[in-house]
């Protein structure tokens, strides 16, 4: 029981991340006449447990449990020659638990006057017995030439109620004696939703489609011997069934299926700066991101990481991330007035105004050809963390604690 992000956008992100690389590192690799990346197999195990909703924010005292999610990732990065590389990724998510269903006022409604005795919003949860498994398989091939690279990715994500086929193409071009790298690309996704009957209301959809198309462009610039600046922008267009078939809205005492617009355009600008401190064997990474979409949602993100190398091939990476978003223009925690025909309405906490803070730390240890890593991250969200005043927070906002363990092995 899920609402689905766009696979195309995820593919776009993956493409972008590889396209906007560090010019200096690429130059050094090319000058040695070897492939840009070593042959590596990586494995990661991630588990995160969403915190139960507070007793004063939920409708049923016995329904508080949220999702427990275990993710396995396997990645194969295999250069085929000095010019060609193949990357294969496999991801499996196993989810179990309960999910926010709809939000209602705590008090009773007087249908004659439309007034409620207590307007405090409380979350109605589904049964905590939901289970689902998703498997995602993708491959990417990259051609490296003297002036940059050209890559193409294709993937498929499959689960009981959702199938996505996605792909994309990206390129990068180095110039200015390889101090500047320009990259661009596009990605797409074709998704099919077929909601599970057991957990949906009688008026649910049976089958719907949606499509996504994204384009991005970015530049990475060597500033001096110790710093690099990069910036990128992207535009994404979604069309089709963009509602969550499992979410409902409470309308004047009656829960009904939510209804979102059938198209959305997203704009994103990001900027990143990395600076190396030679005397400390450390680097600082900072990133800023601005987002706006045609649902009138805006968000700002600030991230900072400190990458500290220590003796005996240890690295420790503390990180901090702050995020704030405004609400989608049709969002409300619940609706006291009857909706007009085709009126857009959603009470999804992800469309509500809030802010979040995540604090994490990662440790990496290299032993010969092996890299071992462990990561812990705490994420908390609340209306009080958002920029601007939020009068009514959504009770479904999530907190979670995440753990990741994994290893990489490099081959000759």
């Amino acid at each position: 029981m899920k609402s689905k992000p766009s696979k195309a956008q995820n593919a776009l992100l993956a493409l972008t991340s590889t396209a906007i690389t560090l010019p200096g590192a690429q130059v050094l690799a090319e000058e040695t006449g070897k492939s840009v990346e070593p042959r590596v197999i990586g494995v990661r195990f991630t588990n995160y447990q969403e915190a139960n909703i507070d007793a004063n924010k939920r409708n049923d005292p016995d329904l508080a449990e949220r999702y427990d999610i275990a993710v396995t990732q396997v990645s194969l990065n295999w250069p085929l020659s000095d010019k060609w590389a193949l990357n294969i990724d496999f991801i499996q998510d196993v989810m179990s638990g309960g999910s926010p269903w709809y939000v209602k006022p705590k008090g009773q409604i007087d249908l004659d006057t439309g007034e409620v005795t207590d307007e405090t919003p409380v979350q109605v949860m589904t049964s905590p017995t939901l289970e689902d498994t998703r498997q995602d398989f993708s491959f990417k091939t990259t051609y490296f030439h003297d002036m940059g690279s050209l890559g193409a990715r294709l993937g498929v994500s499959e689960e009981d109620d959702y199938t996505s086929v996605y792909g994309g193409v990206d390129f990068s071009f180095d110039f200015n004696e390889k101090q500047t790298t320009v990259s661009s690309g596009f990605s797409f996704a074709a998704d099919r939703l077929s909601p599970t009957p057991e957990v949906t209301p009688s008026n649910r959809i049976k089958r719907e489609n949606k499509g996504t198309f994204s384009m991005f462009a970015g530049v990475s610039q060597v500033i001096n011997r110790v710093s690099v600046l990069q910036a990128a922008m992207s535009i994404t267009q979604h069309n089709g069934y963009l509602s969550d078939p499992y979410k409902q809205v409470w309308v004047r005492g009656i829960p009904q299926v939510e209804n979102r617009p059938t198209n959305k355009t997203q704009f994103v600008i990001t900027a990143g700066y990395r600076y190396f401190f030679p005397d400390k064997n450390a680097a600082i990474h900072t990133n800023v991101r601005l987002y706006e979409d045609s649902w009138n949602m805006k968000s700002e993100t600030f991230e900072v990481k400190w990458v500290q190398s220590l003796a005996n091939n240890w690295q420790i990476i503390p990180s901090f991330r702050y995020y704030t978003q405004s609400q989608a223009d049709f969002y409300a925690p619940y609706y006291l007035d009857v909706l007009e025909d085709d009126q857009n309405a959603s009470s999804d906490y992800r469309l509500s105004p809030f802010g979040s803070i995540s604090v994490g730390a990662q440790v990496i240890k290299k032993i010969g050809r092996w890299n071992f890593t462990g990561l812990v991250e705490n994420y908390s969200s609340d209306k009080s963390l958002g920029i601007g005043s939020v009068q009514v927070g959504n009770p479904g906002l999530v907190d979670y604690l995440r753990f990741t363990l994994g290893f990489d092995i490099e081959f000759e």
């Binding site: 609402s3 992000p5 956008q9 995820n10 992100l13 993956a14 991340s17 906007i20 560090l22 200096g24 590192a25 990661r44 991630t46 999610i69 993710v71 990732q73 990724d89 991801i91 989810m95 999910s99 998703r134 993937g155 994500s157 996505s164 101090q179 970015g218 001096n224 011997r225 600046l229 990069q230 910036a231 990128a232 992207s234 997203q266 704009f267 600008i269 990001t270 900027a271 990143g272 990395r274 190396f276 450390a282 680097a283 990133n287 601005l290 987002y291 706006e292 979409d293 949602m297 968000s299 690295q315 978003q325 992800r350 509500s352 990496i364 991250e377 999530v398 995440r402 990741t404 994994g406």
Partner: protein, 73 residues
């Protein structure tokens, strides 16, 4: 869309100009090639971070690492 979308590129341009963008020859890029300066030190874990946030927040996209997928609720 409003003027703030122009602010960031302008600031970046001013920053690049103010810091000089000096010519850095390939043999002077040893620090830049250090592992600490990679855009992502652990692409798989970074992809998972994006993957998780994708399902918790209302906005997504941008130039950072991510994998495909959901993991939603």
């Amino acid at each position: 869309m409003n003027c703030k979308w122009l602010v960031l590129p302008l600031l970046l341009g001013l920053f690049a100009v103010s810091t000089g963008c000096t010519q850095v020859k390939p043999w002077q890029r040893g620090y830049l090639a250090r592992p600490e300066m990679k855009a992502s030190l652990d692409e798989m874990s970074d992809a998972m971070s994006e993957h998780i946030l994708f399902s918790k927040e209302g906005s997504s996209g941008g130039a950072s690492a991510a994998g495909g997928g959901c993991g939603c609720n």
